[in-house]
Amino acid sequence: MDISNYLYLSAILFTIGAVGVVVRRNAIVVFMCVELMLNATNLAFVTFSRIHGNLDGQVASFFTMVVAACEVVIGLAIIVTIYRSRRSASIDDASLLKR
C-alpha cells in the first residue's frame, strides 16, 4: 500500500467535513464537522511527518489539537449563550447579520 493513501483519506474526510459545515443547520453538528476537518488535516500532518522523516509534522499536529481544544471550549460556550437567549441551536435562526 502506498503511504499517500492516508493523504487521500485525509482529503476525503476534509471534504466531507466541509460539506457538513455548509449543509447542516444544528450548530453543534456544524461544530463537529469543523472538528472533523481539523482531524483530517492532523492525519495529513502525521503522514507528512512520516514521509519527510522528521517530527515537525507531529508537533504541528500537536499544536493543532491544543488550539482545537481551545476553540471547542469557546465555541461551545458561544453556542450555550446563543441557546440561552434564543432557545434554539439552529445557526439559521441567528441570521442577525442580515439586518
Binding site: E35, S49, Q58, V59, F63, V72
Partner: protein
Amino acid sequence: MITLALESGATATPEAVLFWFLAPLAVLSALGMLLVKKAVHSALLLAWVMVTLAIFYIAQDALFLGIVQVVVYTGAVMMLFLFILMLVGVDSSDSLVETIKGQRATAITAAVGVGGLLISLISRAVQAKPAVGLKDLEIVGNVQSIATELFTKYVWAFEVVSALLITAALGAMVLAHSQKPIARNLQRDKSIARFRGASLATAAGLPSSGVYSRHNAVDVPALLPDGTPAPSSISATLNARGNMIDSKLFELELKEEEEN
C-alpha cells in the same frame, strides 16, 4: 510499539490491511455524520472517526499523538460535545430539509471539486517520491523525540499556546456565566427596603382588614384604636373600584342592637 514503516513509499501488509479495513469505515462514519437526524448520533459517529484516526496515528509511528487523540479528542472534547448536547436537548432531531435555495447542490458541487482537485494535487505531489520514514528517530522513543522538539525548537509556540489555553478557559467562564440584567427582588431585599425607608409606619406590614362577625370583611376597613377606619387595611384595588364599604355601617347596627 508497532513499527510498520518500510524504506520506500510502500507499507507493510498488516498496515495495508488495517488501512483498507478502517479507512472505509471512517469515510462511511463521516458521511453518516451528515446524514443522521439526531445530533447525538453524529457525535457518536465522530467519536468513531476519531478513534480510527488515533489508530492510524499509532500505525504511522505517532504513538504520542495517537494517545493524545484518544484522551483529548475522543475523551475530553467529545465529552464536552455530549455535555452541551444534553444542555441543548439530547433527543431533539433536526430537519434535514434544505431551506436555502441551491445551497445543497452548490455545496456538493464545490466539495466534489475541492476533493477532486486535492486528490489530484496529492497524487501529483507524491509521485515518485520515496518516503523517508521515522525509523531513525524511534531509537530514543517517540515521546522523548517530540518532547525534545517541543522544548527546544518550538518552545515559544508552546508557551504562546499555553497562554491561549488559559485565555480560552477564562473566556469560556465569562461567556457561560449568566448575569441577570435586573437584580431579583427577593423577600430579604423587600424587608430591608421597608426598614430603610423614610417612614416606619408600614415596616411591620399593613393592618389586616376589619373583622366583623356579620360580614365577610375583606372589603371593610379595620378600625384604628381611636375608632376611625383605616383605608390602608384593605386592598388598594378595591378602594379604587369603589368597592370599599364604610365600617360605620356596621358600627351603627351594633349600636341599634345594643339599644334594642
